[in-house]
Amino acid sequence: MASPRQFRCGRIHETSMSGELKIRVLEDTDLNGVTQLDEKLGGGYRPEVWEHRITYYQRRDPEAPVVAEADGKVVGFMLGEVRSGEFGLEEPTGWIEVIGVDPDYRGQAIGRQLAEHILEHFRERGASTVRTLVDEDSEGIAGFFSALGFEPSTLRPFALKL
């Protein structure tokens, strides 16, 4: 029989039942949910930003971005993809770039479940390393990645203001 994973990227629309948390691949119909959640998290109302970001991921690695759905709405999302050639890293590398979890649903390990799904996808795509960048001021996010097993990398970020 097919594993649940094989059906996962079937991308047939599923909706969560009341109270049930569902982690699934992001779809175009999640644009609104992601935009709303970003707004709730303080990002402001930025539909164009999310239309571009989501279109970017959907055309490159559509099975990577995942959302958490509960009570019929998006309560978490994680965007990322597998890329090669970034910063001289030729091997396929998973990059986690955006994460958001609804504060009303915190404490349900939503971030961890989102990460498990995206990491599984990265493994299937042949990535042996996953990378992300976290602002030093975001201790909560850093703690989240540490709890998942992420360790500080020797690849240090540098920036120059222009």
Binding site: M1, A2, T55, R60, G126
Partner: protein, 448 residues
């Protein structure tokens, strides 16, 4: 997750390239400008992708658990005939949609949106190629008298008006159709591909994953422009109104619903292990998904009209307007877009040729119903041959001049062709290859 790249025999590959030069003339422009719009995205390639490591056992139906067929001749007779029909229909839709998009591609106002559609068209060509690969890579003699090359020839010869499924015989009237088609009709395609991923014919199942990945972008090539246009409509754009979008939805959604097949059917596919869901079940899921799409588009309208309100308040307003059908904060029910009743304007399935109104209301008089359709369908569409053909059949059905079954089967058989290019009686798409040199095998060479 990994894929194997394959090509069809050179003569057939060349036929597809020739077809592309005719019906996708902007292909070279797409390739030349690829990096401008899709930097670092994998370059487009005309080839078939087969997913590796997929399930070897039949996943649904009477023979669940038995090994999947890796060759067509191993399929039971009925299942093989059924599957062959599905592959040809799928191939026809892929090539057909390119012909439709090409009609209005140049009318896009936004270069990015136009380029998205152009990429989508190229990927549909690849999807068609994928189906031709299934036809040419196996021996279908058990189920068809036509050779693989003849089947390919027939598919490449089809034009808008002679395709197998109704939605692909409807001309586009404006670039609104390009986006609406992607958002509604490609979404049906997504369901079909997702269901065929469990196919008891393993080459079919292996063909689906990469097509599905590409289809995700095709949906956004429709959804995002529709959302942007709805915001423009909210701001009083002279270029687009919510009524324009509504009428485009009214034009396409009925065709999309019909693409699932008759609501009473689909059991054969499940029994043969070709799909996991019956038609009605898949259609119901699709409707829920389209409801979600429409809600998102409406939210974009409300937020544009009332930029000072919160997301939660916008949701309340949307719910109030839709459920209570009243004007809230100056936004009327008519300002937003809505889904027509699933029986509206149908010509296939359970409600075929019913006089069912946009909200599901019944009409007793054909002329009254025609006036109702006039209110709800785009002007340019009503002036076209598809609508004319539908009205002729509708009148015949209700005058008792044609049986419903015959009307349902009737195609807008305007340009049915077979074997030769429809624009020239002398051109063939598939050109016979010269005899191979001694010691070489015909058709074995992959295209350059």
């Amino acid at each position: 997750m990994s894929t194997r790249k394959e090509h069809i025999p050179k003569s057939l590959h060349n036929a597809v390239v020739k077809w592309r030069e005719t019906f996708l003339p902007d292909y070279d422009y797409l390739i030349e400008n690829w990096d401008r719009f899709f930097p670092n995205d994998r370059r487009f390639e005309l080839c078939a992708f087969r997913e590796l490591g997929m399930c070897d056992e039949i996943e649904c139906g009477e023979r669940t658990g038995q090994p999947k067929a890796t060759r067509a001749c191993d399929l039971p007779d009925d299942a093989g005939r059924h599957l062959l029909g599905a592959i040809k229909a799928q191939a026809s839709t892929e090539f057909g949609s390119i012909q439709q998009h090409q009609l209005t591609l140049s009318r896009a106002q936004d270069e990015e949106e136009q380029f998205w559609i152009l990429r989508m068209m190229a990927e549909e060509l690849r999807h068609g190629y994928q189906m031709l690969h299934l036809l040419s890579d196996d021996d279908w003699a058990k189920f068809s008298d036509a050779s693989g090359a003849e089947m390919v020839e027939e598919i490449l010869s089809m034009r808008t008006g002679s395709h197998i499924l109704g939605a692909f015989n409807v001309d586009f009237d404006s670039f609104v159709d390009n986006a609406t088609f992607c958002a509604l009709i490609d979404r049906v395609g997504k369901y079909q591909l997702a269901m065929q991923k469990v196919s008891a014919y393993k080459p079919m199942a292996e063909s689906m994953p990469e097509m599905l990945r590409e289809e995700a972008f095709h949906l956004l090539a429709g959804t995002v422009p529709l959302r942007r246009w709805m915001e423009k409509a909210a701001r009083g754009s002279v270029y687009i109104t919510s009524e324009d979008i509504q009428k485009a939805i009214n034009k396409w959604l009925p065709r999309g619903l019909e693409m699932f097949g008759d609501e009473r059917g689909g059991g054969t596919n499940v029994r043969f292990g070709l799909k996991p869901m019956k038609n009605a079940e898949a259609q119901e899921q699709y409707c829920k998904e389209v409801e979600s799409l429409v809600a998102g588009i409406n939210m974009r309208f409300i937020r544009a009209r009332l930029p000072e309100i919160s997301s939660a308040r916008a949701q309340e307003i949307l719910d109030q307007i839709v459920q209570e059908r009243k004007t809230v904060e100056g936004i009327a029910w008519e300002d937003l877009i809505h889904l027509p009743h699933p029986h509206f304007f149908r010509r296939r399935g359970v409600p075929a040729f019913e006089l069912a109104g946009w909200e599901g209301e019944s009409f007793d008089d054909v002329d009254e119903y025609v006036r109702h359709l006039k209110q709800h369908l785009p002007d340019a569409y009503r002036a076209g041959r598809d609508f004319k053909h539908y009205l002729e059949l509708l009148r015949q059905v209700h005058a008792g001049e044609i049986e419903l079954k015959a009307a349902v089967r009737a195609m807008p058989d305007l340009r049915r062709v077979g074997g030769t290019c429809p624009c020239s009686k002398s051109v063939r798409w598939v050109v016979d290859e010269p005899l191979p040199a001694e010691g070489t095998e015909p058709g074995a060479e992959a295209p350059a």
